[in-house]
Symmetry: C2
Subunit: 330 residues, 2 copies
Amino acid sequence: MSQKVTIATVAEYAQVSRQTVSNVINTPEIVRPETRERVRAAIATLGYRANQAARQMRTGRSRLLAVRIEPAGDGINGSVADRFLHGLTDAAGAAGYRVMLYTAVDDNDEIATYDDLLGAYDLDAFVLTGTGHGDPRTSWLAGRDVPFVTFGRPWDTPDLHPWVDVDGADGVAQATRRLIATGHRRIGFIGWPAGSAVGDDRRSGWESTLTEVGLDPRGLARETHDGIAEGEATARELLDLDDPPTALVCVSDSLALGALRAYPDPAGSLAVIGFDDTPVAAAMGLTSVSQPLREAAAGCVDLMVGVLDRAPVPPAPLLLRPSLVLRQTA
Amino acid sequence: MSQKVTIATVAEYAQVSRQTVSNVINTPEIVRPETRERVRAAIATLGYRANQAARQMRTGRSRLLAVRIEPAGDGINGSVADRFLHGLTDAAGAAGYRVMLYTAVDDNDEIATYDDLLGAYDLDAFVLTGTGHGDPRTSWLAGRDVPFVTFGRPWDTPDLHPWVDVDGADGVAQATRRLIATGHRRIGFIGWPAGSAVGDDRRSGWESTLTEVGLDPRGLARETHDGIAEGEATARELLDLDDPPTALVCVSDSLALGALRAYPDPAGSLAVIGFDDTPVAAAMGLTSVSQPLREAAAGCVDLMVGVLDRAPVPPAPLLLRPSLVLRQTA
DNA sequence: TTGTAGGCGTTATCAA
DNA sequence: TTGATAACGCCTACAA
């Protein structure tokens, strides 16, 4: 590696003072165009890059944001996190920020990590994913004025902080309408146990859509934990009804894949739609609701930059609309 | 947030000089035990955390390592990257390092990013994944003495840098032996086009195992690009042979899932084994070769710490053994 | 418009 | 064993 290029190297090369170089970088408009160009040429020639550590010491800003990487879990829905992360890294990079990763086993552990990260690296902001009811993390961060954005609505205390989310109810409504449009009248729903904010929201999209068009949702919803086996068992329950559904909307792809297994005839007429458009769904031909994760990540970065760079006007939240990816199962 | 706690705050609180506090942190053995404890108590009480930016300015080390996050791709195999990343973040954290993410569209873009990252953040090391033949990235990094570790063998120039890898040939051999043990004699292989280092390695495990036990591999291997549809078509080809295989080993889960589709009877007797133990495999009951990604990530961190902290003795590479996860398909 | 001085928090050097 | 001093690279304030 060539010798370290500092602002002094550039200054010398361009025959100006260090301060002028700094000005060219930070407030170019106050430098005479002629000088500015000379300095810029020097920067390019020497391959100068401002040292973030030194800059951070002066400005207190690290241009670093942190996001938690979660264990794959059942894995099927894990790819959501992966795609979000990639989008976030891209968008952050475009805005001049870098993404730092951390892991945590639970909320308390995560809060301890905030403390660490903040103390050691002076992180500019955090991006939280998967907020739930009464999230202790948001109150901790808000309590210390640490900038953060959540991917996921603040379900209890709306608008205390910037957030981006995908309208799950709308996604499920799209799925339901698709089934109605293709002739189904008995449309069931397999959801997560009541109390999960995301799950309840998605279910509401099914219920309201049926009600709107005059169909009766009663008796056609079931709750279960996530998983293939659970989806299969629950779908069987519904199919065993006296007047069974001919189509199922599921709150996740895992449950949807299970539901597909419940119907013995592979060419059968049970329509199934999942949620998240995971790779498995694509592989299996499962119609599914797709979240615009790239846009969501970009939105998080926009909001964050808004909070960090601009006036203290809390940026407006962003609720994105998912889309339905049609495949073979509906 | 309470006032910023610096080394000076601690020094004052513990009635010592800043330097003594620094010594307690970095070279505790040279500080009198009595003083040491007093300083440690002060650190704990005040919640002091060394500022990395300042430390970096002095030492030139950032305790940061960078890894590329790749787009999900076909997604099925994407979860491999995800699990590796999680393990890496965990292991790095335990060793006092943090992981920074970056994206790149190709090798040149990635090299440009190295330059950026090195200049701006003084990264301590890079972790590269998925090395191929004649990888330009490794030569660039090696050329500037930037420490790095690869997850993936240097296929051309062995041992020029530390690496961790999983023995793909062994994994496929395990799969092949399993099929032989369960009575199969005609065992086919669906691989990637020759020339991909990883793919060729895996195929060799199949070929050598068959040969060892006196079975004939000839005519039973096919090459195709990755994908469900490709797997299905290729499997059909093999099943259409005069003397078709009764079992297939596939170089990836995607191909294996496709192969499963080729056999019309769901309860059929075509045994199939995939590679990577992706969530989809788990969901579909596909027997698959599982890479010890957590261990691989930990190994990368170990090697990196070795390079950074210790004598310039190049650490020994680490070749891990995968395991076969038995499910319904074999 | 450009240059000079000082300090951000830390650690290496050297003196006490 | 402990403490004073300087320096890492940058930016802000102020002076020229």
